[in-house]
């Protein structure tokens, strides 16, 4: 399994879309979480995830981890490296999850803080509270530290792909090379 991560505005979805047709199954961690939460606890909208009590959230997380632990080979897991929450950066791949997965490689899609800011401004629907650029820079730096910790834990390679403005083809090509 390859795990592809990136913060909002990095353009992870566009890079993943560009790499379609390579024979990989694409799984989205958030979608899996919501599917299980709907089935188990009757949620009808993704935003209700946040209001689930912690115990129920943990149950959903465990169910997703069990589901993912069976995935090997040509699978891409699309998830967050870390999520910026009011309580801090929440790791997307805590070791308790990571040790259940068959991870071949880790990929972080990113861009300069300036590019990320610019994209968030024009993509008004996804980000509610605009962050100052220092905060984007901090999130990006923390993501790289999380990436190293994940790779050290799994013993697998960790690749950083820059998806610079106007260079989406470059980023897609780099991801495709990893998938070959």
């Amino acid at each position: 399994m390859m795990i592809v991560m990136g913060l909002p505005g990095a353009g992870k979805s566009s890079v993943l879309a560009g790499a379609e047709g390579t024979g990989y199954t694409l799984l989205n961690y958030g979608t899996l979480m919501f599917e299980i939460a709907s089935k188990e606890f009757g949620l009808s909208h993704r935003d209700e995830m946040r209001t689930l009590p912690v115990a129920k959230q943990k149950k959903v997380q465990e169910a997703v981890a069990n589901l993912l632990s069976r995935e090997k080979g040509k699978v891409i897991l699309d998830t967050h490296c870390s999520i910026r929450t009011p309580r801090g950066y929440l790791p997307g791949l805590p070791f308790s999850l990571l040790e259940k997965l068959h991870v071949d490689s880790l990929v972080l899609v990113t861009a300069t803080p300036e590019e990320i800011m610019g994209r968030r401004k024009t993509d008004g629907t996804r980000v509610r509270d605009p962050e100052p650029i220092e905060s984007v820079r901090e999130h990006d730096a923390m993501n790289k530290s999380f990436l190293a910790a994940y790779a050290a834990h799994r013993g697998c390679p960790a690749r950083i792909i820059y998806n610079h403005d106007g260079k989406l083809e470059d980023a897609v090509r780099q991801l495709k090379e990893l998938l070959e």
Copy 2:
């Protein structure tokens, strides 16, 4: 348990003092170490901790870890993210300690390297060897990497609070919000 960390000059103590009265018990790792070392090995001054043989230091550390492993809920543990020693950055929360604790969240209090330097100059009693600014910058960067490793290990959120010059109230308010 919330763990609050910060390097000398970050103003961690001031931020913690400002957040008093929130119903949390404040435990200081260094104080616990010294209390146990006094009882077990008759130390009478904190500075004697460094002269304890490694085997005895490990015994004290284990006793503190066992004591802390029983702490849940509204407890703040005040400790170092990493300690700068002649042999290098010594992690304040090695995984062997971290896995015994009930950690809800991690907080790193910091400031710019320039602010930290300035505070160390005016606070002459605490820091013996003045460090060059590159070395403060390196310590701060390493602390953030340690923070990510700790959070990845525990699966808990990691928050960075900047305690900028003249903005202590801001830093205190951010910590209080986390304690609510």
Copy 3:
């Protein structure tokens, strides 16, 4: 065991050579890998290591880990903090290896990205594809994050030694102080 790491151009070998005569046995991870691979699979040149199938590479790695797990005391292990490969940064000390070793301290030898670039240019034999400076900067930053993850895992100190141009004696002196 002390583990000394550094990326190509950091001058790790020169610093280690300068610290000879301190009574430490110097082991090189890559050399151990090749020695075992020659014996087990008849390799006659280091470059053939890359062409070994993954299963055989893992066997060699395990044999080296077992061999190193018996080393204690005055031993220096010379290895990579992370290796830059087409699939990403491969950790030199994955936790699965690290937990077998008796590690007293970790040392990362480095220099500024500009210094590293300069040395790689004049040392044409070792590096095939010249990297842009941003990529050297990224590798150095990732190495520091890996270093923190390794230290957090082992609970041992992690020291960064700068081997600046024309200051080799300084770097050697710092390493020697750690070996005393």
